[in-house]
Each structure stands twice: as structure tokens, then as C-alpha cells.
């Protein structure tokens, strides 16, 4: 899927760029203060850090698609050791801005590229641009709230997922369930627990590009809805509710457009413990074992 071609993401990118500009301004002001008032240096620096970590994007020029790209690279190259939440190595919590030695984005970029000698952290062949995107992703995740405090039980979560939750009506995990919604076989590698919990409670808060729903009405009156796979000026591709791959030429459509995802909120379906159980189960989905 060509994310950059999607109007929604481009729009988000624009918003981010605006906030980037504000950040640049704020940063500039702080630097001036630092020079002018020595006593404020410590305060200004710490304020900058807090600010920095809480904003959705770093004070660079990254767009939403850069951050998403950074996330992809993180999951492919970093999550194996650091874990999908970035907190599986003691003393390091990448998703919350807790590092051993790095103080600045530049430090992080250097570590990503060159590794840390004498530790298992290897050098990579990432370009500076790619490494910056990973840093932008880490900065963006630091802003996400943490999960509920309850400790989940993955096997109870599996029972809820397949039973009371009715999740298989739309989702698929390890070859069982519907292909209409995103396949969750590897969701524990792709999404952090906080994100999973939010998706369960407030599914509309963030719909990933692979989870958007679309509806078309053909000129002969047939209505088809499904999960959007690709869209361009002239055509639309989706997987429909009957799990068929469908392609439409827009010229042959009477109507077309995004619709709300059928994913329900589980706010009133699951109590806090059940929610934690389901999240634990989802986090445990790390792909299929090789036969």
C-alpha cells in the first residue's frame, strides 16, 4: 500500500508539519533564553526534554508517514531484542524515552547507525535518514499513554477473544477467523500493548492504514463494503465482507467513500481484568511457528 498517496495521511502530515514549525520556534526561543540567563539553563533544558518527549513528533521535519516508516523499521530491526514496546532490555525503555547514554536525537541516530561497542547492540546499515525516522517514531510513542495496571492472562484472553468478544467474526489469528479485518497473527509484534488496549476501548481513535473501511455503490445499484486495500484516482481495491478481493473502476460507481470501521468498543463488554487478558493474548501473537 502506498501510504503517501492517501489523502487522510497527507492531511495528518500537514498538521504535524504545522506543529513542527511551532516546536522549531519554541526551541529557538529556549536557546536564546539559555544564552541570556545562565540560571535558567538547567530549567530550560529539562523543560525542553519534557516537551520534546510529550509531543507527537520530534522537533525535526518528520511527517506522519516518516514516523510510520520509522515504526516499520523499528519492528523489523529493533523489536527482536528491544521488544515491540522497546522495554525488554533492563534499564532501557525506548518507548518512554529512557536510554542508558543517549541524551539527544543525534546520540540516538549515532547509536542506531554505529551500535554500542562491547554490548550486544550492533551497528546497522541504516542511512542517517532512516535512523532519524526511527528516532521520530520512538519520540512519538513516548507520548502514548500506558496500559491499564491490571495484569492480564493470555489464555483467558484467548477464550474471551474467540468467545464473548466475537473477534473472529472479523479478524483472523493463526489461520482461524475472518479475513475482513486486519489479520492479528503477528499483532503482538506490530502493535504495542497500549495501542492494542486503546483500539479495544476506542477503536475510532486511531485507525491504522490497513484497517480502514470503504463502501462503493455500483451504477447498477450493488453496494459493496469492505476493508480498503488500495485506492487511486480511478480505481479502488478492497477485500469485501465475503472475503473476496474486489477492484472497482470509479467511473462505474454511483457512490464511494470511507465508512466507519465495524470494530465495536469493548468498554462495556469487558471489565478491566478481561480487557487486560485480551491485551495479553494479543501481545502474545507473534506470528506462526515454522513447521
Amino acid at each position: 500500500m502506498d501510504v503517501q498517496a492517501l489523502p487522510a495521511v497527507v492531511a495528518a502530515g500537514r498538521i504535524l508539519r504545522t506543529s513542527d514549525a511551532v516546536m522549531q520556534k519554541a526551541k529557538g526561543k529556549m536557546q536564546m533564553k539559555r544564552r541570556a540567563v545562565g540560571g535558567f539553563v538547567l530549567y530550560a533544558l529539562s523543560a525542553f526534554c519534557i516537551l520534546h518527549f510529550e509531543l507527537p513528533a520530534s522537533a525535526q521535519h518528520e511527517t506522519a508517514s516518516d514516523i510510520e516508516d520509522g515504526g516499520r523499521v523499528f519492528r523489523q530491526s529493533c523489536a527482536n531484542c528491544h521488544g515491540p514496546d522497546g522495554n525488554e532490555i533492563p534499564g532501557i525503555d525506548l518507548g518512554r524515552g529512557v536510554f542508558k547514554t543517549a541524551k539527544t536525537d543525534e546520540d540516538l541516530v549515532k547509536i542506531i547507525q554505529k551500535g554500542v561497542p562491547g554490548t550486544p547492540m550492533p551497528a546497522t546499515n541504516m542511512s542517517e535518514e532512516q535512523a532519524k525516522r526511527v528516532v521520530a517514531y520512538l519520540r512519538s510513542t513516548a507520548a502514548t499513554k500506558t496500559t491499564a495496571s491490571a495484569v492480564g492472562d493470555a489464555s483467558r484472553g484467548k477464550t474471551l477473544f474467540e468467545g464473548q468478544g466475537g473477534c473472529l467474526k472479523c479478524h483472523r489469528a493463526n489461520g482461524v477467523g475472518s479475513r475482513l479485518g486486519p489479520d492479528l497473527t503477528r499483532v503482538g509484534q506490530l502493535r504495542r500493548s497500549a495501542e492494542l488496549e486503546r483500539s479495544l476501548l476506542d477503536p475510532a481513535a486511531e485507525v491504522v492504514p490497513t484497517g480502514r473501511f470503504y463502501r462503493v455503490v455500483t451504477k447498477d445499484g450493488a453496494t459493496v463494503t469492505g476493508r480498503l486495500l488500495n485506492i487511486d484516482t480511478y480505481t479502488v481495491q478492497m477485500i469485501d465482507t465475503k472475503e473476496q478481493l474486489r477492484s472497482f473502476t470509479k467511473a462505474n460507481l454511483k457512490e464511494s467513500g470511507f465508512i466507519a470501521s465495524p470494530m465495536p468498543s469493548y468498554k462495556s463488554t469487558f471489565n478491566a481484568q478481561e480487557l487486560a487478558d485480551v491485551v495479553s493474548y494479543l501481545v502474545s501473537l507473534k506470528g506462526r511457528a515454522t513447521p
Binding site: 468467545g163 483472523r172 489461520g175 477467523g177 486495500l229 472475503e243
Partner: protein, 543 residues
């Protein structure tokens, strides 16, 4: 509890219905001629005739072909895959091993699955893939790190991933798997290095290995004594091109590669079975039923990994179930596919290393036509008269169509990579050499598409190209033959006369076979050239 059970039952029912609509059963693959809108296996059917029963595009209107869409691979590797089309959805491979599902009508993507092969993967001749296979709702792909992958055709999700052989030991896979009943059968490439080639069958559902056939017999097995010393352990004999299947005998047929080391046979004296052969395997057991060796004790890298074409023809006035084989070694063969009996053979290009066959069909060598210290001019070229590109057979015209090189030669020096025509001493890279750069006259080496009478193996017509060709051939029920060449032209020829009906300049080498399908009543022809896949159909107003 009751509620939950009920829910699962409903889900299972919905999933069941949805799956039924798209199931590609083995029966469908076997009788793909009944659904000409689809292209369900590498060369169309397990007989590998690469013949489309579609008739919309014919000799009268082929001049009205025009481009419908292009899909550009994000890969600089050679594009060798033939796509599959199932009910309007096209599946192909972006080399080395990314899988894409496209809308066959517009070329727009449904999904892409990326696969990162192990850095241990080593290929002799490009990080390529020749295509997918499908059974049920599942796609199958061999990878250059010698794994076999199963993917959900609806979503691209990888269902299982099985190591067939170790990439560390220089095995790789580039061929399209052969589907037979509930099995996926695949061979290992890498035979220019010290491997021991294999063909293995896996359960399509689970990936469980069912049997494994070694292309070099082990100690105590018949044929092991055709290798001197321990040379059998590392004698190469890769399998890297599509196999065929005959349901009447339940035999699968695979061509096998050269013995290793390629150009120096001194360390591996003997015939080196089953190198440069066709092996006929019982698909249920993997046991060898028969074999025929095209080039015993090969020292010229004449892999016999061409695509076996099965046909039922008249031979000397009687119906015969045959296998047609235009070999890299410059000889064309007609075999009985039930027994493996050699029926007929002849040189189809200039050949100077062989001179006919004995009564049993064993090729007769010309003395001295082997690599030498001073260098020996050998015909055909090390790349062969043809190499791996898939040929075609039209049951309508009864002709066998092959795109190949003519008049090519090579200088074979002991222990070295042969040189192109001896003109340029530069070492050549497999698959990339442009013979034209080494030639002094236009007739020295060139490409042709030729139609052969399968009974006599005599040529009926030819279409000549300035440069050589690595393109496959498609014939159709509209009596059009499609092919191309290294110059980047895609050609439509009259299947009965070879006359040029239409051509398109695609701006990149054609390194793949064409195929045809239809969507909503419109016939398409696709061909990969350069790094892109092109789809053609008749102009809107053309009849």
C-alpha cells in the same frame, strides 16, 4: 458456553462459504483448459504447453493490441516470473521473493508481502524467481535461501515457512513449485557449486515433508558408480525449473542441472547420473520410475533444466504420448513419456560436440570437443541453444514453438569459465552476457523463434532476431504466438507462418514467458520485460 460454541459455528460457516468460492482444486489445475480466463500454473497446465484456449486476439486483429497497464517491480533483479491469474486476481513475484496480488484488469495492487531472504543466500545467476503456484486458497513460493513458503492468497499472510535445504550450504530455490494432488514438489538450485541436488515433496496444508529424491544417487544406489571417488557428494545437479505431471502414469518429470564442477570433469569421471537428465518420479513415493540422460559426463554446463512439454501426437503414423525437449546442448528430443524410451533426436542448431545417437538413444560424442588448455571452440554456446525459458505447444497447429539462440559458440578452456566466441577474453557473467558485443558479423549468433514439427523435429518456420533471446513462448487458440528477446521487443507472430503481426518495444530485456487470461470478457496477454510487467489487450474499438 453455548453462546460461544454457536458463535464459532457461525464463523466457521461463513469462512467455509467464502473459501469455497475461490478454492483452486487440483482438478481445476489439471483441467485448466476448461477455464481459459484463468492461468493456474507456471505454463498453464501440468502438461506445460503454455497454450491459451482464448480466441479474442487472433491473427486478423493482433495488430490492434495496445498497452492496458504496467506494473513496475521495485527490484532491479531480472523479472523471470510468470504470473498466475485466478478469477480476476493476478499473483506474481517481485524478485527475489516479494509476493504481490494485483487486480488483473487494472494492475493495481491488493496486497504485497515482503520476504527478506537470509544473507546466506547465494545464487549463481541472479536473485530471481520464476513464479508462484496455487492450491486451494494458498500460494506457494520457493525462495533464494532455499525455503518453501505458503501464503494466504486473500491476504498474503505467510502460513508456513519450511527450510528445504540450507542456504549456508549454497542451496537456493528459483523455480515455480509443482502442485500434484495435495503435494507441493520443489527442487533445489545451486548446482554450479558443490551441492547435492534434491527434489522434495511437502504436504500442501501443513508443510510436512513427505519424500525427498536426491538427484545424485548415494552409496549402494544404482548410478552412484557413475561418479568417481567422493565426487557424488558435491556433484551439483540442481533442479531449478518447472516440472510436469501426467495423471495417467502418476509421474512427475523434472529436468536436472549440470554436474559440478561445471567445466572440468577430471574429478568426477563417469556419466554422472542423474545430471543433465529428465527424471520421472512417482509422486506418491518419490521413487524414480525412469530417467533419460541428455548429456552424459557434461563438461560444458549444459543444464537440462528446460521445461518438459507433454503432448499427445502422431509419431510415425501412430498416436503416442510424448515429451518434447529442446535442450541447452543443441539437441532436440522426443521421448515416450510413459516409458522414457528415446523416440527421436536431432540437432536443432549448429552442434559440434555430438554426432547423432546410438540404437538406445545415447548421444555420440565427437572426440576432442571438450575444454582444452589451448581452448576449444564449442557449439552451442555455454548458455546453450536455449536455456530455461518455457517453450509452447499448440494442439491446434500441432507445432512445438521454441525461442532459442542459433549459431552461437564458446571457447572452452580447462577449468575456466568458457569465453564467448573467443573474441573477448573477458570472463562472462551467467545470464548477462550480450553476445552481440563479441560478434564480427550478424550471422555469428542470433535469436530465433522457431516452430517445429513434433514428430520429425524439423523446423516449419522461423522468426529471426538480431540478438539472442531468453524469452518464453505462448501460443493461443487465436493462432498467435507471442515471444520476445533481449532487445526488449515483444512480438506477436502468426502461429502457422511465423509472419510478424505486431510488436511493442518495451525498453528492457524479455527474460520471462508470456501468458494469457481474461477478465469480464476481455483477453489480456502479459509479458515481463526489464523490471516491469506489461498487460496488453485489443484497442477498445477493435474487433
Amino acid at each position: 458456553m453455548t453462546r460461544r460454541t454457536g458463535l464459532i459455528a457461525v464463523v466457521a460457516a461463513v469462512v467455509g462459504v467464502a473459501s469455497l468460492q475461490a478454492q483452486v482444486t487440483f482438478e481445476r489445475i489439471l483441467r485448466a483448459d476448461r477455464e481459459p480466463q484463468n492461468w493456474l500454473s507456471y505454463s498453464g497446465t501440468p502438461f506445460n504447453q503454455r497454450y491459451s484456449p482464448l480466441t479474442q486476439i487472433n491473427t486478423a486483429n493482433a495488430r490492434n493490441l495496445e498497452l492496458q497497464w504496467v506494473w513496475q517491480a521495485r527490484s532491479l533483479e531480472k523479472f523471470e516470473a510468470t504470473a498466475l491469474v485466478v478469477d480476476g486476481v493476478m499473483y506474481t513475484v517481485q524478485a527475489p521473493n516479494d509476493v504481490v496480488a494485483l487486480d488483473a484488469e487494472t494492475g493495481r495492487p491488493f496486497w504485497t508481502t515482503t520476504y527478506a531472504p537470509s544473507p546466506d543466500a547465494r545464487t549463481c545467476c541472479g536473485r530471481v524467481n520464476r513464479g508462484l503456484s496455487i492450491l486451494g486458497d494458498t500460494l506457494y513460493m520457493g525462495t533464494i535461501d532455499a525455503h518453501l513458503l505458503a501464503l494466504d492468497a486473500k491476504t498474503g499472510e505467510i502460513l508456513w515457512n519450511k527450510e528445504v535445504a540450507s542456504a549456508k550450504d549454497r542451496y537456493s530455490i528459483t523455480m515455480s513449485p509443482l502442485i500434484v494432488k495435495d503435494k507441493v514438489i520443489i527442487g533445489t538450485a545451486g548446482g554450479d557449486g558443490p551441492i547435492r541436488g534434491q527434489i522434495a515433496a511437502f504436504d500442501a496444508k501443513t508443510g510436512k515433508e513427505l519424500w525427498r529424491f536426491f538427484t545424485i544417487p548415494g552409496p549402494g544406489e544404482p548410478g552412484n558408480d557413475t561418479w568417481s571417488g567422493d565426487s557424488w557428494k558435491t556433484g551439483g545437479v540442481g533442479v531449478w525449473n518447472a516440472g510436469a505431471y501426467d495423471p495417467e502414469t502418476n509421474l512427475a518429470f523434472f529436468g536436472t542441472g549440470n554436474p559440478a564442477p561445471d567445466w572440468d570433469g577430471r574429478s568426477r569421471l563417469g556419466d554422472n547420473l542423474y545430471s543433465d537428465s529428465v527424471v520421472a518420479l512417482d509422486v506418491d513415493t518419490g521413487k524414480l520410475k525412469w530417467h533419460y540422460q541428455f548429456t552424459p559426463h557434461d563438461e560444458l554446463d549444459y543444464d537440462s533444466t528446460q521445461v518438459p512439454v507433454l503432448a499427445d501426437i502422431q509419431f510415425r503414423g501412430k498416436p503416442r504420448k510424448v515429451m518434447l525437449w529442446a535442450n541447452r546442448n543443441g539437441l532436440m528430443y522426443l521421448l515416450d513419456r510413459v516409458t522414457g524410451e528415446f523416440l527421436h533426436g536431432r540437432a536443432y542448431v549448429k552442434v559440434n560436440w555430438a554426432d547423432g545417437f546410438d540404437a538406445k538413444g545415447r548421444v555420440q560424442r565427437v572426440p576432442g570437443m571438450v575444454p582444452s588448455k589451448a581452448g576449444t571452440v564449442i557449439r552451442p554456446h555455454v548458455h546453450g541453444a536455449t536455456n530455461w525459458a518455457p517453450p509452447s505447444f499448440s494442439p491446434r497447429t500441432g507445432l512445438y514453438y521454441v525461442a532459442h539462440f542459433e549459431n552461437s559458440s564458446t571457447v572452452a578452456v580447462e577449468g575456466e569459465f568458457p569465453r564467448a566466441n573467443g573474441i573477448n577474453p573477458r570472463q562472462t557473467t551467467m545470464g548477462q552476457i550480450n553476445l552481440q558485443n563479441f560478434l564480427n558479423n550478424e550471422d555469428e549468433a542470433y535469436g530465433v523463434v522457431r516452430a517445429y514439427d513434433p514428430g520429425t523435429l524439423e523446423p516449419k518456420w522461423e522468426y529471426k532476431m538480431a540478438d539472442i533471446t531468453w524469452a518464453g513462448v505462448l501460443s493461443t487458440a487465436g493462432d498467435v504466438v507471442f515471444s520476445g528477446g533481449k532487445e526488449g521487443y515483444f512480438l506477436a507472430l502468426d502461429a502457422r507462418t511465423g509472419a510478424l503481426l505486431w510488436k511493442a518495444a518495451l525498453g528492457g530485456q524479455v527474460n520471462a514467458g508470456p501468458m494469457s487470461y481474461s477478465v469480464n470478457g476481455k483477453q489480456y496477454i502479459t509479458i515481463a520485460a526489464g523490471n516491469s510487467l506489461f498487460a496488453f489487450a485489443l484497442r477498445g474499438d477493435a474487433k
